[in-house]
């Protein structure tokens, strides 16, 4: 599965990093990194990150 972030919508609240620290993080320059390809065992964590995003900028593609 593909984990997607719409960087036009993302306002760097950082809630995804709190919910799913293994899948999201900030780089030294403050920009967001994330794991782009995930397997079924990571889906729950990815769903949680998508839920808590205040801008609803995260989604998962099959």
């Amino acid at each position: 599965m593909k984990l997607c972030v719409d960087l036009e919508k993302c306002k760097l609240h950082g809630q995804c990093i709190i919910a799913a620290p293994k899948l999201f993080g900030f780089r030294a320059d403050g920009s967001l990194w994330w794991v782009e390809t995930i397997d079924a065992t990571q889906q729950k964590e990815a769903d949680e990150a998508a839920d808590v995003c205040p801008e609803q900028a995260i989604w998962i593609e099959d």
């Binding site: 306002k11 760097l12 609240h13 950082g14 809630q15 990093i17 709190i18 900030f26 403050g30 729950k44 769903d47 839920d51 808590v52 205040p54 609803q56 989604w59």
Partner: protein
């Protein structure tokens, strides 16, 4: 119709309760009833982007995605609950339909409080729903004289949006500072100055006492009269004076509804193990801040309380005890005003002491100059509010609060 899980309230909390029920493995029926005619959507942009963008169909951008696991959920939209009989386990909707349940979630949220004044209803606005926001933005035209009643977050965000649209804007606030209770005096003063630098006027320590109407057209507002004896010209009055909980439909069930729905730490309503509450309306004890139950009107709370409530509902359906873990969510909120983002973590409103821990208030809003205020109670740090700091820095402060 009979049984299963009934969720009253079809906004963020109601949606998340449904999702989290499915996440527990519950595969029985789920019914959601909501007062608005729309599927659940995201509210924070209503006081911001929706007001200053003029794009078509703003609702489309705000809709929450509905997961496949919810494909068989039954939605009754535009159907507020009007009454309930929790002994009989039934809830009645506005269309006369009665729904029964095995487990119930109360997720009906809030309605804006209105000023206790009569007249000029078409010139008076609130911001809670997409329909409210669309109605408001149509009157926020250049040079319109806008008075905002209430200098809290919604009032200040709405004022900034109205200013962006070219309106002349005055905030009338009964306390000495805008957002003073949430931010403390020092930061509230700095943000007030920032608003003033963007040509928002303040009338502080003052309340709106009356409405002055156009004698030729009594539906048209011309001014508001203030408690200090002066009048303030107004074409549009935005009422951002707090909210009341949507609890009318729960009356008659011997519940404590004095401030939302009182629950235990499992989000179960007192002496009703088959009833839970989630979101803005849930008044629950957070052991992080002592035994006093409180409601929290922050965006993250619906998701967190919904998860907890859904677990309690699933346990009840299986005849099991609920999750034995303690629920002690760390509150977070943010506010966007004139291009600055204020981010709060913890509970600054409970502090007895505040002080700058990074940067300088005189640099507020200047690019590259972030700042952070710390908040303490009884000597222990209980909150941090940052402005313009990289998100990674905020994560560090968050970690300090545990």
């Amino acid at each position: 119709m009979a049984g299963g899980a009934l969720i009253v309230g079809a906004s963020l909390s109601g949606l998340r309760v449904a999702e989290q029920l499915r996440a527990t493995g519950y595969d029985g029926s789920i019914t959601v009833a909501g007062a608005e005619r729309h599927m659940p959507y995201n509210r924070p942009p209503l006081s911001k982007d929706v007001l200053f963008d003029d794009g078509p169909n703003p609702l489309a951008k705000l809709m929450f995605s509905i997961r496949p696991a919810l494909s068989d959920v039954i939605w009754y939209l535009g159907q507020p609950a009007v009454s309930s009989d929790l002994d009989a386990r039934t809830v009645s909707l506005a269309d006369g339909r009665t729904l029964s349940y095995d487990v119930l979630a109360i997720a009906t949220g809030l309605t804006p409080r209105r000023l206790p004044l009569v007249g000029a209803e078409t010139c008076r606005h609130v911001v809670r729903t997409i329909d409210d926001a669309i109605a408001l933005r149509s009157v926020l035209v250049p040079n319109a004289k806008v008075v905002v009643a209430g200098g809290g977050f919604i009032g200040c965000e709405t004022a900034a949006s109205a200013k962006k649209r070219g309106c002349s804007v005055t905030i009338v606030e009964p306390l000495a500072l805008p957002m003073g209770r949430a931010l403390g005096d020092e930061l509230a003063n700095a943000i007030k100055a920032y608003h003033e630098a963007h040509d928002v006027q303040f009338r502080l320590g003052t309340t709106i006492q009356g409405l002055l109407l156009d004698p030729a057209d009594p539906q048209r507002l011309t001014a508001v009269s203030l408690s200090d004896g002066t009048d303030l010209q107004a074409d549009v009055l935005i009422e951002a004076v707090g909210s009341v909980c949507n609890i009318e439909w729960l009356h008659g069930n011997r519940l404590d509804l004095s401030d939302g729905a009182l629950t235990d730490n499992h989000l179960r309503v007192k002496s009703r193990p088959d009833v839970t509450a989630a979101g803005d309306i849930a008044r629950f004890p957070n052991p992080r801040y002592g035994p006093t139950p409180r409601r929290i009107e922050h965006w993250a709370i619906p998701g967190l309380t919904a998860k907890r409530a859904a677990r309690s509902m699933a346990a009840r359906l299986k005849g099991e005890e609920p999750d034995s873990n303690v629920f002690d969510p760390l509150p977070t909120f943010w506010s966007d005003q004139f291009g600055i983002r204020l981010q709060s973590v913890g509970n600054p409103a409970l502090a007895d002491q505040a002080g700058l821990i990074e940067g300088a208030l005189s640099n507020l809003g200047k690019p590259g100059h972030g700042l952070a205020m710390g908040y303490w109670k009884d000597g222990a740090m209980i909150g941090v509010i940052s402005i313009g700091l990289p998100a990674a820095k905020l994560s560090e402060y968050r970690a300090m609060l545990g």
